[in-house]
Symmetry: C2
């Protein structure tokens, strides 16, 4: 008897569904939906497009998530020809922390007519970085009170996380904060829409909301110290009941069944995070193995036996990825985003014309020319902080840097320097883990970039001096979400009873692995030494040039808004 | 009776002639000739285009200089309708140090058939930076021997200068060095072609060849310490007879008259440097006044009463600009060159398309959008060292830096940051003079940029907090060369007996001067503080990141050439 599962991955620019055979992980169909409103970072959608957003804001429209279900799930059913009755479960994964305020019934506040013009009513996307003052307060108060959970997050909480974003709403829009009966991860919100029941997953809570299996959330006194009105945020607007990954959140309602064309009553897995759900889908289930999800940003998930302190990691959560192991998370907040920025904002017409002539993407043209260069040949070096630095510095106020330009510098050279910079950033993370005593024995890459960009992968292998394997699936998060669905359905229904078992049967690696070239590795180690000099100079100097520039910029921006 | 003079300015990319009325400096006609072989910096001209040049090389073709005379001088005669008999003199100015090896009769070695494939036989353009090892040796030996002249050049000799370039020929092509019976500034070479007689001017000798009116050239023991074969370089291949600016080098030969369509016997002024000849043409003849010649690079000429040591100036020469005063020179080795690099190498198609639609240059489009920004608004800051740093660091091995990029950074923001960076570079120079006790009371800009780029000029005023006047002439160096011709011709012939007198009558300022905006100046002072942090961090750290990158680059380049 055939059993199939559907996984839906909610990314930064689009959502995508896959329909997967439970027996072997074969992907029968996939479909994606580019969000109509994409990333909202300059002004709100019409008719409120007179509302301009300040720098560092990044919002989304929750209706884009529903449209993804409505378009992509029926599409994979149609493309595969699979009978909805043979689909034993659906699972989802999401970017995180992507969160929104809702009414008690789950209605997003931004869908209420009178609140559509209020930026704080919308979904705050993971890369919304405007809550840095709140993150600073969260860190300062935690340090002052000696909060024990701080060490689990590398000693610093990011502005991207749940309580920083929530506190920003309270700080800047207190009335809207009052209206928000629920504050919820978009991951859990979409599962709520599917099942009709509000559930919360322990993965986002553990990685993005300072929760742990042993100690729960920080205590109310801590929240009160941030702001008296924030004291009972958990009990008033969240939940202390958290379900582990792979468990069942509920079943599809009739409404959700009509939306997705699946059967009402189909099991729905508890929500999960795109990165974390990718580990098992990339065959990463053993201690010492790391998955690097490479896309707009990089996320590194490393499995370990023991909980130790590692500088600047994003979190270490027991059972967070695989039961019984510590799931360490680290990340780079700009990777593919930086390459895309470069291709759009800094590449002269000749390369775009070559792309048109060859019917290729401009990235491909740049890659072809960049691949002809030898390591070090351009004399360029970059700090990959266009979107701040997540690990190991945990500082959204850092910015990009490029050095070494001459009048002979060409676009493919800069492009390669940007690829290299992100590889250096990954090397910093790998070395931070190893020097803290958490071994990194195996690395598997997945996500949108490894498949498309062979040069990038070879650079990662050359820079780190390590073999980079690549997950076979082009849709690892969606496959991982589908694997969660298989576990939520259970072995009896044709699924599996554990994520490790599901991974063994459903996850595969690509045959080609990237081996480091030793000569290139030697040159890259010299360049890496210079990268580390710049990294420490600009990243560890608490009040250096980058912060000053941002302060001057913000001051100017305020004057403009006030004038 | 009408009297006219012709000035010919030999620039980096083209040469241009003006025909000027001696009475009031009115420019009756001008014509320019873009060099056929331009700047030769990748490979030699065909049929020797298999000869690739190493990084930092920049050569020119001396025939382009002759073609300039042949095309542009007849053109201004034709356009103005002036009778060659009413032209009382011709003067020229040149980039410097731009030098070449020739045979005893003045034939450039690169015009000898058997030497055309030898890079060292060609003209070394001012921005040829490959003689850095020789400059390092020149500085080290001078410091070791306590050479008294070193202080006149800010304590450091540039790789751009005459003896560094000459020594590079000896180091790398000793046989060609032997063949070179003369080593000569292109400025003097072109006067030789006009007059049939080899003369040397004291301006290039003073600023670029360590000569002074009081002490002459460094002594032979110093040259011998650089290399035994270099001991008698001055007596063997140069001359100790140096003529001051404004004096007469000779008169046009019949051959040169045929080339230029002027009369044989027309007085020819001694050669001069483009920057230095511009001072008088910009009405800068008093102590405390500075002319900034703004083009591909910036050159600052400041007049002072006394000779003092100023860090990183390019030279201080008695009578170098105006008789009786010290002419201080400082410079920025990349300005318009950097803007041009940016427009060509880093601007996406939309701006080029807008330029095409509006029938404008892409610089204009960038300027329009950049002008909408407020100081500090972009959060960007650059070090303007794409072509190294001339003053005050005197280091060709430095490179460009840009910091503050985010995913929202746009091309006009970077463009403005580059304009600002060059203004910060000028402020460093002005402050170095003032803190050494040489006052800067009046600034006049001239050259190709001030006329075309109002935003740039306003930024210079705002960054420095000083009024920037602009020379009325669009061809200041050529006007200055014409003024030299008027002095060479003398008052009796309808010219003048001194450059100060010629300046009083022939030089004019534009009516519009750029006044600093105090609010902008305040923000720029904050940004300037950060510029100084970066300047000192990257520029004064003798073996920092920029040098390491260049060393890695050069090592890689060597491996490529050897493989």
């Amino acid at each position: 008897m055939s059993a199939y599962v559907v996984g839906v991955d909610f990314g930064t620019a689009s959502g995508r569904a896959v329909l997967v055979d439970c027996a072997d992980g074969r992907e029968l169909a996939s479909a994606s939906f580019p969000y109509a409103n994409g990333v909202i970072d300059e002004r709100l959608p019409a008719p409120h497009d007179h509302v301009r957003l300040e720098p560092d804001w990044a919002l989304q429209d929750p209706e884009d998530y529903l449209r993804t279900l409505e378009y992509a799930v029926p599409q994979v059913l149609a493309d595969s020809g699979i009978d909805p009755g043979d689909v034993i479960g659906i699972g989802i994964d999401f970017t995180s922390c992507t969160m929104l305020p809702t009414a008690a019934d789950g209605t997003p506040l931004c869908l209420l007519e009178e609140l559509r013009g209020e930026p704080h009513a919308w979904v705050k996307l993971w890369k919304h970085h405007a809550a840095q003052p709140e993150a600073d307060r969260i860190n300062a108060v935690a340090a002052e009170r000696g909060e024990p959970w701080l060490a689990r997050y590398g000693g610093r909480i990011s502005s991207e996380w749940f309580f920083a974003k929530s506190l920003q709403i309270l700080d800047e829009a207190p009335e809207l904060y009052d209206r928000a009966e629920r504050l919820i991860e978009a991951a859990d919100w979409i599962v709520w829409q599917l099942t009709g029941t509000e559930t919360r997953n322990s993965c986002t809570a553990g990685y993005k909301a300072m929760w742990s299996k042993r100690d729960g959330f920080p205590d109310s006194a801590y929240f009160a110290a941030l702001d008296p009105q924030f004291e009972h945020v958990v009990d008033e607007k969240m939940s202390r009941t958290l379900l582990p990954p792979g468990s069942r959140a509920g079943v599809l309602t009739a409404w959700a069944a009509a939306l997705t064309r699946l059967r009402a009553g189909t099991p729905v897995a508890v929500a999960n995070v795109d990165a974390h759900v990718s580990a098992a889908a990339a065959a990463v289930t053993e201690p010492g193995s790391m998955v690097v999800i490479m896309g707009t940003s990089n996320c590194h998930i490393l499995l370990g036996d023991e909980l130790v302190f590692v500088e600047g990691m994003c979190g270490a959560v027991e059972d967070g990825v695989v039961p019984g192991l510590i799931g360490y998370e680290a990340g780079q907040s700009g990777v593919g985003d930086i390459f895309a920025w470069f291709a759009e904002q800094a590449v002269p017409p000749e390369y775009h014309e070559a792309a048109r002539r060859q019917g290729e993407d401009v990235h491909r043209i740049l890659e072809q020319e960049a691949a002809e260069l030898r390591p070090g040949e351009s004399g360029l070096l970059a700090l990959d902080w266009w979107n701040g630095n997540r690990s190991v510095l945990v500082d959204a106020d850092l910015s990009g840097l490029l050095v070494g330009m001459t009048l002979a510098t060409k676009a493919p050279e800069v492009y390669r320097a940007l690829l290299e910079a992100t590889a250096f950033g990954t090397r910093v993370i790998v070395e931070a883990f190893e020097s803290a005593g958490v071994p990194v024995a195996k690395i598997v890459a997945c996500g949108g970039l490894p498949e498309r960009n062979r040069l990038l992968m070879q650079i990662y292998a050359d820079v780190t001096g390590r073999v980079f394997s690549v997950a076979a699936s082009a849709e690892t998060p969606a496959l991982g979400a589908a694997m969660s669905a298989a576990v939520a359905a259970g072995a009896e229904a044709g699924g599996y009873d554990s994520i490790v078992e599901a991974s063994r049967r459903m996850a595969h690696l690509s045959e080609h692995a990237y081996e480091p070239n030793e000569a290139h590795h030697a040159v890259y180690s010299d360049l890496y030494a210079q990268y580390v000099v710049l990294h420490d100079l600009f990243g560890r100097d608490g009040d250096g040039v980058m912060k000053s520039l941002k302060r001057i910029r913000d001051r100017t921006g305020e004057e403009v808004r006030m004038s």
